[in-house]
Amino acid sequence: MAPQGLTYALMVQGAPYSQQASHSALRFAEALPAQGHRVAAVFFYHDGVYNAASMMSPPQDEPHLLERWRALHQVQQCELLVCVASAIRRGLLDESEAKRHGHSHPTLEAPFELTGLGQLMHAALHYDRLITFAP
């Protein structure tokens, strides 16, 4: 019998619309509550940081991955943690980082948060399961 009420951390390493990783991670996360589990944190690393691109504008007949992540955050109260080192290199900056680097607009917004790798290690240590969705 599988244990009940587990907390999950997901690591998403695949870019949206390039690989299936984001879709798989979302489908998995959305299926957790039916079995009494929940996703506590999603950590975006490698090209996975592009999932947080605030100006993501997919065609209307395609799933809007940013909206799906926001909905997941609302429903399961999970943190959406974006590796700051991977994100800034790739042009994903929140308001304060945008200012600091002399850009007029942020490209990453709440509920996504820029965080260090310490948060990934914390999630791995403190939540019951870590599942990696890779490109």
Partner: protein, 117 residues
């Protein structure tokens, strides 16, 4: 503090992508938090352990320098899967110092959490 053990598996070669650097950074941060993970190189990941590497075309700090620094943070030894090494026609004499042979199945079974890069 949790007593969970973490295994970081690196399975991609260095220089051509950022996987090795990102895996090593995760391991270093774990060590800085007082929970040094075990690090294991398997598949093409063993190529990150080759001696005599230089700064890469990505213009970023080569992973070899980071690897040499891991022992300062108690992330040691550098475990490698010997079958992956053999499959690539290599032996341990071609690797940097500090490498040690591992059985990957045992490694996985002995850790609570596995992170792949």
């Amino acid at each position: 503090m949790s007593s969970k053990s973490i295994l970081v598996i690196v399975r991609h070669p260095p220089h051509g992508s950022s996987w090795v650097r990102e895996g090593l950074e995760a391991a270093l941060v774990g060590a800085a938090l007082g929970q040094p993970p075990t690090i294991l190189f398997s598949g093409d990941g063993v190529l990150a352990l080759l001696a005599n590497q230089q700064r890469g075309a990505l213009g970023q700090k080569g992973s070899a320098a980071m690897l040499e620094g891991l022992s300062l943070y108690d992330v040691e030894p550098l475990w490698y899967d010997h079958l992956s090494l053999e499959a690539r026609g290599l032996d341990v004499s071609q690797l940097m110092p500090g490498c040690q042979q591992a059985c990957i199945a045992d490694m996985i079974a002995r850790h609570d959490v596995v992170m792949s890069f």
